[in-house]
Symmetry: C2
């Protein structure tokens, strides 16, 4: 899933909790920050859209709730949402976007040494050039875990948006090496789980389906939740169920969904053509606000 082309001149705005907006490119983390040295922290990210004279973060309340859940799962101090709303407002007021943007929230465990371990929190607003939100070439990649790997093992941080995304980044590079836009993780028992940074959904005989979170370790996608809510409102049946990667060939269609990149159909999976249903793509994307 590579529909994003970063503009050459980047106008990223950063606001640090307790400090406010900092200079472009300013340094924010020490050499001792556990987010930097251990990937020990959590984040969340959402799309930013023009609204009136300014900007609005899409589904902000849902993303804040997930951010708080991630922090709790990682046993970080509970984010003070008043402070975070203030930092977000400061970053939004200072940002200089031409189209869409991405708001990212980052919370680390803070410095490893020292007498008080104060978490580092900051948010950034960056330009997002959606480019072609288009049919995707996807490769499956083994995740090396069974589909129930996260049962009774909270220390594995299943479903938690931690800062430890090195494997997702490596999987994206492997997908690119295979000429693909993104990778779909498959469990050792053959279940299609989620993409590196996007949820999987598919339509099976009129039912909008996605994989369950919980024991699978799959992240609770906000975009997916918004789609499933919208489907429920119109009486369209939905389900959370396991699917084998090769079963996707026989579905009405399959899509990857994320907050920044919308809902894109999977056109090929491991080189095999999957049905692309434009009507469903429009319906699902529209439900997600794209």
């Amino acid at each position: 899933m590579e529909p994003i082309v970063r503009p050459r001149s980047v106008h990223q705005v950063t606001a640090v909790i307790g400090t406010g907006v900092v200079a472009p490119g300013a340094l924010v983390a020490s050499a001792d920050d556990l987010g930097l040295t251990r990937g020990d922290g959590v984040f969340d990210a959402m799309r930013v859209l023009p609204r009136g004279d300014g900007w609005e973060a899409e589904n902000l309340e849902r993303h804040l709730r997930r951010f708080v859940r991630s922090a709790a799962a990682a046993e970080l101090p509970e984010p003070d949402l008043g402070q975070w709303r203030e930092a977000i407002a400061q970053a939004m007021a200072a940002c200089d976007l031409e189209g869409e943007g991405v708001l990212k929230l980052v919370l680390t465990r803070g410095d490893d040494h020292g007498t008080d371990r104060t978490p580092l929190g900051f948010c950034t607003v960056s330009p997002l050039v959606p480019g072609a939100r288009r049919p995707l070439a996807v490769t499956t990649l083994a995740l090396g875990r069974p589909s129930n790997a996260f049962a009774d093992a909270p220390w594995l941080l299943g479903g938690v948006k931690t800062l430890s995304y090195a494997v997702a980044m490596a999987a994206k590079r492997e997908a690119a090496r295979r000429g693909c836009d993104d990778a779909l993780y498959v469990s050792t028992d053959g279940v299609a789980l989620e993409a590196t940074t996007a949820a999987l959904l598919w339509v099976d005989h009129g039912v909008v389906c996605s994989t369950p979170s919980g024991t699978t370790g799959i992240l609770e996608s906000i975009t997916l939740a918004v789609i499933l809510d919208a489907m429920a409102e119109t009486g369209t049946p939905t389900d959370r169920r396991l699917v084998r990667a090769e079963q996707l060939d026989a579905m009405t269609g399959a899509w990857l969904a994320s907050s920044a990149r919308g809902v894109c159909p999977i056109a090929t999976l491991d080189g095999r053509r999957l049905p692309v249903d434009d009507g469903w793509t429009d319906r699902l994307a529209s439900a997600a606000g794209f």
Copy 2:
């Protein structure tokens, strides 16, 4: 494994590649650094010992070689060892240790945006108070992977010291919650793999054994390699083999080994007493330089 007590007044020295030694507590990473936001980078760490009028990093060449291997596995630009040796020398010259220290090398993928993505590299020297290098209470924790999970899946970054250590940090917290010093990861097929930040070794009928790296995803421990080399020199048989966690009860002894914390016997595993053999402990620790 918690034999380290950090002193209250910390004298950490940081040297940044291309910059040199920075002020204590100086910020080094931007809000856009992929090491900070994605745990996308690699590190290595080793003990620092007094040597003559100054300090020496133990097994530096081996650690540098592993650092280069980690960078290659993560597809980062190859570290310029000339630059790294210079930064290490600067940090060592500026450090103010009273006993032992830890030298840490960190390399991130650099800023996500911008026209050139220059990696961020820095090293730190921090005090290490060894405290009690003592028998350990260890709990097993499920890793949610079979013992061959990393076969043919280089994107899973098995054996690579990435900055994405959030699960190791969570496992350490879970161990502490259970009243233990460290956690020993166990695969879904019951194999004891490694501790959160230490290698596992055991003695079985006079053979010094450890778990194999490769398809298990276990990190190649430098301390372990040094021990196995020393054993080979004295004609003591060694082996790399799989072991089930419960089989450790019947061994002459079992130990956790790491560069900073030495070789500590496992006194209890999930509350069961394991044999502690002081003779072997002395011999293994001495072989590792402790």
